[in-house]
Amino acid sequence: MNKTKKKTEKIIFESEKDVPLVPMSLGSMLYNKTGAWRNIRPVIDTSNCLQCGICWKFCPDVAILIENEFPVVDYVYCKGCGICAEECPSKCIAMVEEEK
């Protein structure tokens, strides 16, 4: 669902000639894998999932996607804030320590 037409790699300019005239963005933030920020991760037990959509709705990082009618955590970007686990009405999301 992360629909963006822009480039998804980090942009580095080799020369001023490549720098845009007007200071403006040329790419998306998808290069920035914010999953590296977390030390706990949400784990969804879909067997108890009510498919209510609340976890998807309240994720500040758009890191819960809907696949085949069920929520799926996008661990590349999930920051581990815990809102999904806190708000889940059937308490089927557990926040688990990241293995180091």
């Binding site: 669902m1 992360n2 629909k3 963006t4 037409k5 822009k6 980090k10 942009i11 845009p20 200071p23 403006m24 963005s25 040329l26 790419g27 998306s28 933030m29 998808l30 290069y31 920035n32 894998k33 914010t34 920020w37 977390r38 067997s47 498919q51 209510c52 959509g53 998807w56 709705k57 309240f58 500040p60 990082d61 758009v62 890191a63 809907i66 009618e69 069920f70 996008d74 590349v76 970007y77 920051k79 581990g80 804030c81 815990g82 809102i83 686990a85 806190e86 708000e87 926040m95």
Partner: protein, 298 residues
């Protein structure tokens, strides 16, 4: 075999905000943006002054939004939006919704002149203030939106903020703009509905969105949504709309007002408050609620 039903989501699935942005864990300001953009769609242009979102969006040359953003000077959210709207219309684009997207500092304090000017002229913009109740981007300094009793780096515990939160909604109502509303990221469908309604109105529309900040409020990141619910249930930040500065519609009237103490206890920025302080806060919340109810009756 479990019977799988289709998910019925309460909001459109299209995202105009991507992952990878720089917001703190549990930031409600990003939820505010996510919901507002779902309501307004891709034909939107944002003017973002200095505030958390100037950084959240990502560094040059990257952006996490699929709508154009004009990063503007701190005081100029409203004046930039007015100018942008005028410019777009003069080059033939009368459809793009121009939104000024500012924090509480850029709205209540340094940006209030430009906001008042735009509102008085009834410029055709939507002004959104996401309120995390302090200058968060610069490291949690006090603003006039900081609530009574809060610790911030410029109102340390011994001199906690002892002035009430500025009533920006009353100030905007005094401008008699066609539409304004308070909103809350814990009630996304309400915010979505109001923003859709605002989109169809011409003139200055103002949104005051309550946006918990775990970093600045010293609360748990997972409590962001819970705090937003509490603040409506205890009437500290009521959800209401005002049309033309006169017609007040309160969206949620809790049958049983919850005590503010429960809300206060969840945030480290209030940890130093005594029972007497909390009682005072409760009294002020009650008074403000009564005043709002009276306005809604007229």
């Amino acid at each position: 075999m479990k019977k799988e039903k289709t998910m019925k989501l309460s909001l459109p699935t299209e995202e105009l905000m991507s992952s990878g942005h720089l917001a703190c864990q549990g930031c409600a300001a990003t939820l505010a943006m996510r919901y507002v953009l779902k309501a307004l769609g891709q034909k939107t242009a944002l003017c973002i002054p200095a505030c958390c979102w100037s950084v959240i969006d990502g560094p040059f040359p990257h952006s996490s939004l699929d709508v154009p953003i004009f990063h503007c000077a701190f005081e100029t959210a409203a004046s930039s939006a007015s100018g942008l709207k005028a410019g777009l219309e003069m080059v033939g684009d009368t459809e793009t919704t121009v939104v000024a997207w500012a924090g509480d500092g850029g709205t209540f304090d340094i940006g209030i002149q430009a906001l008042s000017g735009a509102a008085e002229r009834n410029d055709d913009i939507i002004y959104v203030c996401y309120d995390n109740e302090a200058y968060m981007n610069t490291g949690i300094q006090r603003s006039s939106a900081t609530p009574y009793g809060a610790w911030t780096t410029t109102t340390p515990v011994k001199h906690f903020k002892n002035r009430p939160k500025k009533d920006i909604d009353a100030i905007m109502a005094a401008h008699r703009i066609p539409y304004q509303a308070t909103a809350n990221t814990s009630y996304p469908e309400d915010l979505f509905r109001k923003m859709k309604k605002a989109k169809g109105i011409k003139g200055t529309r103002f949104f005051h969105i309550y946006a918990p900040c775990p970093t600045g409020w010293k609360c748990r990141p997972e409590d962001s949504i819970k705090l937003g619910r509490m603040v409506v249930q205890n009437c500290m930040f009521p959800l209401y709309e005002v049309e033309n500065g006169e017609k007040y519609t309160i969206n949620i009237k809790p049958r049983e007002k919850k005590p503010v103490a429960d809300y206060i206890r969840l945030q480290g920025r209030f940890r130093h408050l005594t029972d007497a302080d909390i009682a005072y806060i409760q009294q002020e919340v009650d008074r403000n609620w009564e005043r709002l109810l009276k306005r809604a009756e007229c």
